[in-house]
Amino acid sequence: MSVANPAILKLTVRNHPGVMSHVCGLFARRAYNLEGIMVRPVRDNKQLSRMWLLVNEEERLQQLIRQTEKLVDVICVEPHAMEGSAFEATQEYFV
C-alpha cells in the first residue's frame, strides 16, 4: 500500500440505505484522509454491514474514531491490524 501510516478501522453498521453517505460525508466534512473503503452486508445477519476503512490520520485517529462512533447508524468501531483485514486479502485487486 502506498499510504504512509495507514490505520485500519473495522466498523459494524446498520445495513441501511444512507449509512455509506453518513460515513463518507463525515470524512469529507471533517477533512479526514480516507484511503480505502470496503463494505458488504454481514454474512449471517442481513441487518448489519461490515465496513472496512483505511485512513491516514495518525494524529487525529482518536478524534476520528469518536466522531465516527457518534454516527447513529454506526454500531461499533474497532481499530484493526493490516494482518487479517479485508485490505490485506485484496491487495492484488488494486494494482
Binding site: G18, R66, K70
Partner: protein
C-alpha cells in the same frame, strides 16, 4: 399536552366493561401515512408547528387541519425553521417545522444548520416527490437527504408509512438525547398517502438515559481543582441545556471559583454575581481574558472550546491545564488536550460533586481576580445615552423586568447585548452563536413569544439582519404576540464595517445601505406597530410606552455607524491581544500593561 402524550391504553382502563371487551382485541385502524405522522406528533406532545405548505406536503397539511396541533404559517420556510427553534430554545423540548420539497426544503436548510451548531432539538419534516419519481429530476425534486446530511444530527428518508412508526419516535429521541440537535425527516408524497393498518402506536420518543457517573473521576476532578491555586470555571450552553444552573451555582460558590461564560452560557451566573467574570473571548471584557492568562486550571463545563471563545488555541490559557466535562465524547480532545475529561451529563457530574466536595475559600486568587476586574473593566462607553448602543440596551433593560426573554440578530448589536445586558437566568438569552445567522432574531422571537406567552420577548436587531427575515412581521402581527423588535439602526452592516475599519485600512466595501429602509413603516405595512424614537420629544417615555404596551412593536433607534464593539480580538489572534480602540496607536493589547 400531557393528555395527548398519555398512551391510549391508560384511557382504555377507564372505559365501561362492555366496551373493554373490544379493547382486549386491539383495534386496528386504516390510516394514511400523513394521518399517522400527525398522530405520532400529537403523542410526542407537539402542540404547535411552524411551516409552509406546498405540493409535496399537501397530505400532511390535510391531516394537520383535523388535529388539535396548531399551525403557524410562516412567510418563508427559513422563518418557520427559526420559529420552531425559538420554541425549542425556550422550552428545551423538541419542536417541529414543516416545509414542502425542493425550494421549501432548501429554504429550511439555514435554520437546520443553525440548530446543528447550537445543539437545538429541531425536527424538520419535509415533503418529497413520490418515490417513483425520485432520481428523475421531477418538479421540485431535490436531494433533501443529501443536503440535510452534513447539517443535522441525523436524517431520514422515509420509505413506507410503516417506517414512520419507528422513525418519528426515533427522531425525537435523537433530537433530545445526549447533546441535542436537529433531525431531518423527508417523507415522499406516496408514503404520506399510503394507507396502512395500524394496531398499536409506539411509545413517544424521549431523551435516552444519560450515562451513569462514577464517583472516582468526579473525586479526581475535585482533587485537581482543590490542588490548583488559580482555578477558573468555563461555563457553556451545556449547562443551560442540562438544566444544571442551580448545581453549577452551588458548585462554584462552595469551591469559591470564578467563572467565565461562553456566549451560549450567558445567564447561568447572574451578571452581578460575585463569581461571574462575564463573557470570554473575541468580545470579552479585558479582565475576563486577562484572568485566563493567569489561571492555572480551567474547568470546561458543557463547552466546546469554540474559536470565538478561545482565540488562537495555542495561546489560550497559556499557564493552565484543562479539565473537560461534556456529554459529547467527540468534543473531548477536538480542540485541546485536557488532563482529565468526563463524558457525562454535566448536571449529574455537578450534583455528584456537590455531595462530595468540601467547601473552600480561594481568598488570594479571588483578590487577584477582583484587582484585575477593577484595573481592566469593560468600558460601556455611552451607557447613559439613549441613542448610543450601550445606552439603548441599558434603557431597555431598566424598563423591562427579569421576566423578559432576550434574543438578537447577528452583528455588532448582538455583541453589545451579549456584553452588556444584565442576564439573570438560563434560557433568558437566545441567540445564533455557532452559525451566526443574520435573520435569526425576528422569527426566533416569534417562537419564543409563542412558547412563553407570559414573558415579554425582546429582539435586538440590526438594520442589515432585520431585512433578512422581515417578512415575519406579518406572522408576529397575525398572532398578536407581545414582542418588541429594537433596531439599533446604523444603516450599515456594522460588524463588517468594523472589521474593514480595523483590519482593511478603512477600505469600506459594500457595507452602506444607499437606500434606507423605513422600518416603522414596514412594520405598520404588515400589521405591527412601529415607532422611531428620534421622532419623539421625549424618546425615553416613548420607549417606555412602547415596551409596556402589549403586542408586537418595532422600535427604531438610530445610532452612529462609527460605533464599535470593543474589546475585539482579531480573528485568529490571541485573546490577550485585545483591540480596545480604533486608533492604531491605542490598539496595543490591554494585556501589555504588566
Amino acid at each position: 399536552m400531557t393528555e395527548l402524550a398519555t398512551p391510549t391504553r391508560a384511557a382504555a382502563d377507564s372505559l365501561p366493561t362492555e366496551t373493554r371487551l373490544d379493547v382486549a382485541a386491539p383495534q386496528t385502524r386504516e390510516l394514511s401515512g400523513a394521518r399517522l405522522l400527525i398522530e405520532l406528533l400529537e403523542r410526542q406532545g407537539v402542540t404547535c408547528i411552524a411551516g409552509v405548505p406546498g405540493g409535496a406536503n399537501l397530505p400532511m397539511y390535510d391531516a394537520l387541519s383535523h388535529s388539535p396541533i396548531s399551525h403557524v404559517l410562516a412567510r418563508h420556510e427559513q422563518g418557520a425553521g427559526f420559529i420552531a427553534q425559538g420554541m425549542a430554545r425556550i422550552t428545551g423540548q423538541a419542536q417541529v417545522c414543516f416545509a414542502s420539497s425542493g425550494p421549501g426544503a432548501t429554504n429550511l436548510l439555514t435554520a437546520v444548520a443553525d440548530a446543528h451548531l447550537d445543539s437545538v432539538p429541531l425536527i424538520a419534516i419535509t415533503g418529497q416527490v413520490p418515490q417513483a419519481m425520485i432520481g428523475t429530476d421531477a418538479f421540485q425534486e431535490i436531494d433533501t437527504f443529501g443536503l440535510m446530511l452534513p447539517i443535522s444530527k441525523h436524517n431520514y428518508l422515509v420509505r413506507s408509512a410503516a417506517e414512520l412508526l419507528e422513525v418519528i419516535p426515533a427522531a425525537f429521541e435523537l433530537a433530545l438525547s445526549g447533546r441535542p440537535g436537529p433531525v431531518s425527516v423527508d417523507i415522499p408524497k406516496d408514503v404520506q398517502n399510503e394507507i396502512i393498518s395500524v394496531t398499536d402506536l409506539p411509545a413517544p420518543g424521549v431523551r435516552a438515559p444519560d450515562p451513569v457517573v462514577a464517583d472516582e473521576p468526579v473525586l479526581a476532578m475535585i482533587e485537581r481543582i482543590q490542588a490548583a491555586s488559580k482555578p477558573v470555571l468555563m461555563i457553556g450552553g451545556g449547562i443551560v441545556y442540562a438544566g444544571a444552573t442551580d448545581a453549577l451555582r452551588r458548585f462554584a460558590e462552595r469551591l469559591d471559583i470564578p467563572a467565565v461564560q461562553t456566549f451560549m452560557g450567558l445567564g447561568v451566573l447572574p451578571s452581578d454575581h460575585p463569581l461571574s467574570l462575564g463573557m470570554l473571548g473575541m468580545h470579552g471584557a479585558p479582565y475576563t481574558n486577562l484572568v485566563l492568562e493567569e489561571c492555572d486550571l480551567l474547568v470546561g463545563l458543557g463547552v466546546r472550546f469554540d474559536d470565538r471563545a478561545t482565540g488562537k488555541v495555542a495561546a489560550f490559557c497559556p499557564n493552565a491545564q484543562f479539565i473537560h466535562v461534556d456529554i459529547d465524547n467527540s468534543e473531548i480532545g477536538k480542540v485541546l488536550q485536557p488532563v482529565q475529561s468526563i463524558v457525562a451529563d454535566v448536571g449529574s457530574v455537578l450534583e455528584l460533586a456537590n455531595r462530595m466536595l468540601e467547601e473552600q475559600r480561594n481568598t488570594k486568587w479571588r483578590q487577584r481576580v477582583d484587582q484585575l476586574k477593577n484595573d481592566h473593566p469593560l468600558d460601556l462607553d455611552g451607557k447613559d445615552e439613549l441613542f448610543r448602543p450601550y445606552g439603548a440596551i441599558a434603557a431597555v433593560a431598566a424598563l423591562v423586568d427579569d421576566n423578559a426573554n432576550i434574543t438578537t440578530d447577528v452583528g455588532q448589536h448582538q455583541m453589545w447585548v451579549a456584553q452588556a445586558y444584565p442576564f439573570v437566568r438560563p434560557r433568558q438569552w437566545i441567540s445564533s452563536g455557532g452559525l451566526g445567522t443574520m435573520g435569526f432574531g425576528l422569527p426566533a422571537a416569534i417562537g419564543m413569544a409563542l412558547a412563553a406567552p407570559d414573558h415579554k420577548t425582546i429582539c435586538f436587531s440590526g438594520d442589515g439582519s432585520l431585512m433578512m427575515n422581515i417578512q415575519e412581521f406579518a406572522t408576529a402581527a397575525e398572532h398578536n404576540l407581545d414582542l418588541k423588535v429594537i433596531v439599533l439602526n446604523n444603516n450599515h452592516l456594522g460588524l463588517v464595517r468594523q472589521q474593514q475599519t480595523l483590519f482593511y485600512e478603512k477600505n469600506l466595501s459594500a457595507v452602506k445601505f444607499e437606500q434606507r429602509t423605513d422600518f416603522p413603516a414596514a412594520a405598520r405595512a404588515m400589521g405591527m406597530k412601529g415607532i422611531d424614537l428620534s421622532d419623539f420629544e421625549n424618546p425615553q417615555q416613548a420607549l417606555q410606552q412602547a415596551l409596556n404596551e402589549p403586542g408586537p412593536c418595532l422600535i427604531n433607534i438610530p445610532i452612529s455607524e462609527t460605533e464599535m464593539v470593543f474589546p475585539m480580538v482579531a480573528p485568529g489572534g490571541a485573546n490577550k491581544d485585545m483591540i480596545v480602540s480604533e486608533k492604531p496607536d491605542a490598539a496595543n493589547p490591554a494585556g501589555a500593561s504588566k
